[in-house]
């Protein structure tokens, strides 16, 4: 089975500062001191691919990212986790790239590679659109299942059985014929932490590098025209004082609201 996992380098939200005034332009969003990491949902996608390889030892897993030179660090980490090959599509940095442009680039690469399965994270932690995976599937005319937390290939050859949570606290079990694209939600298998020795080896691994222009032309379709602060719908209550006094105030608050 040939598997492609699409990964993205994102700013670590915990390292970002969010001032009370929105940024003047998208380029002002990232301030000094922001650290970057692999999108966590993409880590789950890599883990799902590695779990599938454990039942298909002949499987090969490629990881692909679109971005500038710095994006390479997430490919190195993916290889450290156990991915076989890394593909870097070089694209100038852009805070809000169109999911159609990114999807088109990845689909153009994947179309030539005879993959059986493409995995993406359910969404990126920064832009939260969850669209790149479905766009790739749409361009390749493959079936797409989103927000999958469990994948197994034990049902029949060429078929994956997938589970996901749906609205109302229910679970949906689906089967999909390969080739297919799945977007992976945080799930049962915690992404493995790469050993230092594997990370060091990954640093020497020759990546496949392709300029974006060699694959596809940009397709905007939509643009971010403004960044604003979310509407404040209710204010929080700050409880001050010693631990004992705070506990008393909290208990009083619970009683007042009829919570206990």
């Amino acid at each position: 089975m040939r598997i492609l996992v699409c990964i993205k380098r994102v700013p670590d939200l915990e390292s970002m500062t969010f001032p009370d005034t929105p940024p003047q332009s998208p380029s002002d969003i990232i301030c000094e001191g922001t650290t970057w990491r692999m999108n966590r949902y993409d880590e789950y996608a890599i883990e799902a691919a590695l779990q599938l390889r454990e039942t298909h030892s002949a499987s090969r897993i490629d990881a692909l990212t679109v971005g500038d030179e710095d994006a390479v660090e997430v490919l190195r980490r993916a290889i450290g986790m156990g991915v076989d090959h890394g593909v870097h599509i070089q694209q100038p940095p852009e805070m809000f790239p169109s999911p159609f442009t990114i999807g088109k680039l990845i689909a153009a690469y994947a179309r030539e590679q005879a993959y059986d399965l493409i995995l993406c994270g359910v969404m990126s932690e920064d832009l939260m659109q969850g669209l790149v995976g479905p766009v790739i599937a749409g361009l390749l005319k493959w079936p797409c299942l989103t927000a999958i937390h469990t994948v197994n290939d034990q049902a029949r050859a060429g078929v994956l059985r997938c589970e996901r949570e749906i609205e109302g606290g229910r679970q949906e079990v689906l089967e999909v014929e390969l080739p297919a694209l799945l977007t992976i939600q945080s799930g049962i298998h915690t992404p493995r932490y790469p050993a230092l020795s594997k990370l060091l080896r990954a640093n020497k691994y020759p990546l496949e590098v392709l300029p974006a222009a060699s694959l596809a032309t940009p397709t905007g379709r939509q643009r971010v025209s403004a960044i604003t602060l979310p509407e404040r719908v209710r204010a929080g209550v700050m409880i001050e004082g010693t631990a004992e006094s705070k506990a008393r105030q909290l208990a009083k608050l619970f009683h007042a609201k009829g919570l206990c």
Partner: protein
């Protein structure tokens, strides 16, 4: 200027649609505050005509019911195959879906087919001159991005609870029933089940939420002890996992679990 055409997609199972679906009519009404709009429900699924009649009765908008026998399982792939010929004929300017896992499976494919833009998780609509700007959360909800599509049609998935109808009773619109042909698909719904251990967030009487403020995962036990003082306590089984991936995991995909 011709009226902006709006198609609202509703999935029906045995004549029932999610209650939040009427929120989408409120989005259409918001568009209508600024311009002339022509709204139509496209109800797809089993007993779609009944569901269409009910939605049309609530909102006054006409409906097209695309009947799919109840023994046929609704998958994103099937819904794409059924809907896209109708949408190609209708050529709506705005196509609105409720934001669900299933709609996420195929809205992008529809957008590609219709040469449309696609915006997911829409939670507000503002007008900038004559142009609608659709707003959605970014960066964990710390900021809101306004997205424009210029003159291109747009496929939207709308988060439930952000648009509210005024509740006034309208004159029921017409309901037209169609029976689309059903192509073979590569995805199959095996089962939908109530989770053995999980309950919906919406069923909880009290929700105890914790974010980064609790400091570390070690403090989750404190939250568990806090939740224990409430009646009918529920305690999230995967909360530690959710901590790792950020609080929006719980908010978007919610998994509170009774123990």
């Amino acid at each position: 200027m011709p009226a902006r055409k709006v198609a609202i997609i509703a999935e029906a199972e045995r004549g029932r649609t999610p209650s939040a679906i009427v929120d989408l009519a409120a989005l259409a009404a918001k568009l209508a505050e600024n311009e002339s709009v022509e709204v139509r429900w496209l109800v797809v699924g089993s007993n779609a005509a009944d569901a269409g009649a009910e939605l049309s009765g609530h909102t006054g908008y006409p409906a097209v019911a695309l009947e799919i026998p109840s023994e046929v399982s609704l998958t994103g792939e099937l819904l794409f195959e059924v809907l896209h010929p109708f949408l190609m004929d209708m050529r709506p300017d705005v196509i609105a879906f409720l934001h669900t896992s299933r709609s996420q499976d195929y809205v992008a494919a529809l957008a590609l087919t219709l040469d449309a833009a696609c915006i997911t998780g829409v939670q507000a609509l503002v007008m900038q001159g004559d142009a609608p700007v659709f707003q959605r959360a970014v960066f964990g909800g710390k900021w809101v991005a306004g997205i424009q599509t210029d003159d291109r049609p747009v496929v939207l998935t709308v988060l439930p609870g952000y648009f509210k109808t005024d509740g006034t009773v309208k004159e029921r619109g017409e309901v037209e029933t169609k029976r689309p042909s059903l192509p073979a698909t590569r995805t199959r719904l095996i089962e939908t089940r109530e989770s053995e251990t999980e309950a919906a967030l919406t069923q909880a009487q009290t929700i105890v939420a914790a974010g980064r403020g609790i400091g570390s995962e070690d403090n989750l036990d404190t939250i568990g002890r806090l939740s224990a003082i409430f009646p009918n306590q529920r305690w999230p089984d995967r909360v530690s996992s959710a901590m790792r991936v950020g609080c929006h995991t719980i908010a978007r995909w919610g998994l509170p679990v009774p123990r």
